[in-house]
Amino acid sequence: MSSAKNDPVKIETDRSWEAGRSKNVTFVVTEDCQLRCRYCYMVGKNKAGRLKFDVARRAIDYLLGARDLVTEPSVVWDFIGGEPFLEVELIDRICDYFKLRAYELDHPWFDRYRFSFSTNGLLYNDARVQRYIAKNSSHLSVQITVDGTRAKHDLQRVYPDGRGSYDDVARNIPRWLEQFPKSSTKVTVSSDDIPRIKESVLHLWGLGIKEVNINVVFEDVWKPGDDERFEAQLVALADETIDRRLYETRSCSFFSKTIGLPYADNNNWCGAGRMLAVDHRGNFYPCVRFLGFSLQKRPALTVGNCFDGLDRNRLRPFLTLDMVTQSPEECVDCDVAAGCAWCQGANYDFAETRTIFQRSVAICRMHKARVRANNYFWNKLGRKLGRDLRAEPQGGEGAGPC
């Protein structure tokens, strides 16, 4: 073994700004988009579902005023669509209004806020977008979605006429990375994408995007053998990452020391209900996945609106959700459960009855495959660096076989 004990290991992704401590409020500013991505949950793209300034203003007024219910010390205002930058002028007004009101009210969020965007990147170089970025740069995160190689990206992220959008997005990436060097991108993997995982992550790293957040879809799309193919891709990615010492400067959320152990706590996976999404009608949702356009089988689930306020009763299930109540027994007892994600909105959508308390376990085999590849990665990297990088299991380890 090498004894290079101080080699940097960057591979695990950073925690986001104020992670877990800030209120996350998502404005769905438009249901319109230039693209028709094949996996997009927003199936009914339209121009009518546009947020009006007055509705956003009321939502901000309510949230700044409801100090007993909204107690987080900081806020992340997320702007999504459709494509949010289609409405950059409206967003600019909303942001100005928030800053002004927070100042007037001497609200703790006045200097503890962030504006955050998930964009397809097509309008990134537009003059209005650039003006907005320049004005808000110190409080801004922008995430452009690139799905990987041109082939993978263009398989899914297409214009209404079926043309791929890779070239139009890639053109804007250098400027984006220049303005936001620490930016990350989010990649979603479905069954058909499995053979392209390794090349896609390497490609994104090659473009200069240092942090790749990647996850498999929660829908039950997996075919027999997908788990093995997935594992093989991750093992190949692990080899390349280690051989080319990419772990020193790049990160990919597939590899994490905290996954693959039994559950250590009973927390819910996500912050649905602690977060909030606001649509153009002024309705509040536990997160964007509970809006009507995000759901396949179930009706939208609102938790109040900006006129009458939050519905405290409807928030109660979300605020008391935990792992054990919604999970099948196999999950509670699973030896490699840590890191096995779920999405509350997907659970609600796919549950047998109208409830958020039935966890969908469609990704079970995929998670186990990821754990095996992840173990392989840390074992191999540890041997190369001469240190034990594996996560410490909790509790006794037993005597072992000899």
Binding site: N266, R312, R316, T320, T325, V332, E352, T353, F357
Partner: protein, 330 residues
């Protein structure tokens, strides 16, 4: 384990709980069809179920009476129909509490007092009339949704006001029970409604429901036909173990009404603030009652009711998640 079957004999059968029954419809078809009633009786006989028949304020006819009498049962009827149903549990609406003349001659009755929010200030007076004639009085608030601080305070005032009467009657050889004061001191664990677990309901359309409230809210929420497979999706969510707020709570007398849960929070396993606050007014009143009972030298063998810092167990559930190990012990 299933122990009871509720049979709603007619659309306008009396409500006994947190829901409003339907009115009569023109042109009949309000009564449960005889063949469905027969199927319900058979189902009860084959599954060792005790039947609770919910009656309207009118007579149903001999064919119905005959079927009812062919199985072990309890009748629940409106107070006004008491003479037709001796021994029945009598439902009294708070808007029409019977006067002394109507109550004369009654003794050892089981009453359900369906209390409306608007009548809360009259609660103690109504109980004062009913309790001396009662073996047991169940108070049930008919319109729980929307209760606020004013209602909680009034409820508490009324329970404190009736306490001396309950204490006085407790010296009788057959002291009456009052669910919201005397149940909690006598309970060592949850004693909830358990709709869907301990009982099912046959609606007036002859189909099965979790409880009558589900029928009246939406007859399409049926669990199936009598005798067919009973489809309770996510049944575990009816169980205490899978109710994150209730499983840490010790308001043992609470109904833990899954109908109100569903209506107000959208989840069968999650109670609304109103339910919990009201049940905790009762819990606190029961604690005071137990103290006074002890002061009077009675209450031997009853366990303490600890003082707690919250009025709504939701706050405690949010503050501290149950550990995986503790969950497994349930």
């Amino acid at each position: 384990m299933l122990k009871y079957l509720l049979v709603v004999l007619a659309r306008d059968a009396t409500s006994f709980c947190h829901y409003e029954a339907g009115g009569r419809r023109r042109g009949g078809a309000d009564l449960i069809p005889l063949d469905r009633l027969e199927a319900a009786v058979l189902f009860a006989l084959k599954n060792n179920l005790k039947v609770n028949f919910l009656y309207p304020g009118r007579r149903l006819g001999r064919a119905y009476d005959k079927l009812v009498e062919s199985v072990d049962h309890v009748k629940i009827a409106p107070f006004a129909a008491r003479s037709s149903h001796p021994g029945a549990i009598l439902v009294v609406e708070s808007s029409a509490v019977p006067g002394a003349a109507d109550l004369a001659g009654l003794r050892g009755e089981n009453f359900i007092l369906r209390l409306r929010r608007a009548d809360l200030p009259l609660l103690a007076a109504a109980l004062k009339r009913l309790l001396p004639r009662a073996k047991r009085v169940n108070v049930v608030l008919a319109d729980v949704a929307g209760c606020g601080e004013a209602e909680y305070a009034e409820y508490r005032r009324q329970l404190e006001k009736i306490m001396p009467e309950v204490l006085k009657l407790s010296a009788r050889p057959d002291p009456p029970e009052l669910n919201v004061l005397t149940d909690r001191p006598a309970l060592g664990r949850m004693n909830n409604c358990e709709a869907g677990l301990a009982h099912l309901t046959v609606g007036p359309n002859g189909r099965l429901y979790l409880c009558p409230a589900f029928f009246y809210a939406d007859p399409r929420q049926s669990l199936g036909e009598i005798g067919g497979e009973i489809a309770i999706g996510n049944r575990r969510l009816l169980e205490l173990k899978y109710a994150p707020i209730c499983r840490i709570c010790d308001a043992y007398q609470c109904r833990r009404c899954v109908f109100l849960n569903r209506a107000l929070t959208l989840e069968l396993n999650t109670p609304s603030a109103e339910q919990c606050r009201l049940a905790h007014v009762e819990r606190e009143a029961s604690r005071l009652y137990l103290g006074r009972l002890r002061e009077s030298g009675a209450g031997e063998g009853l366990a303490d009711i600890p003082e707690i810092a919250y009025q709504d167990p939701f706050d405690a559930a949010v503050e501290k998640k149950m550990s995986i190990a503790d969950f497994k012990k349930l």
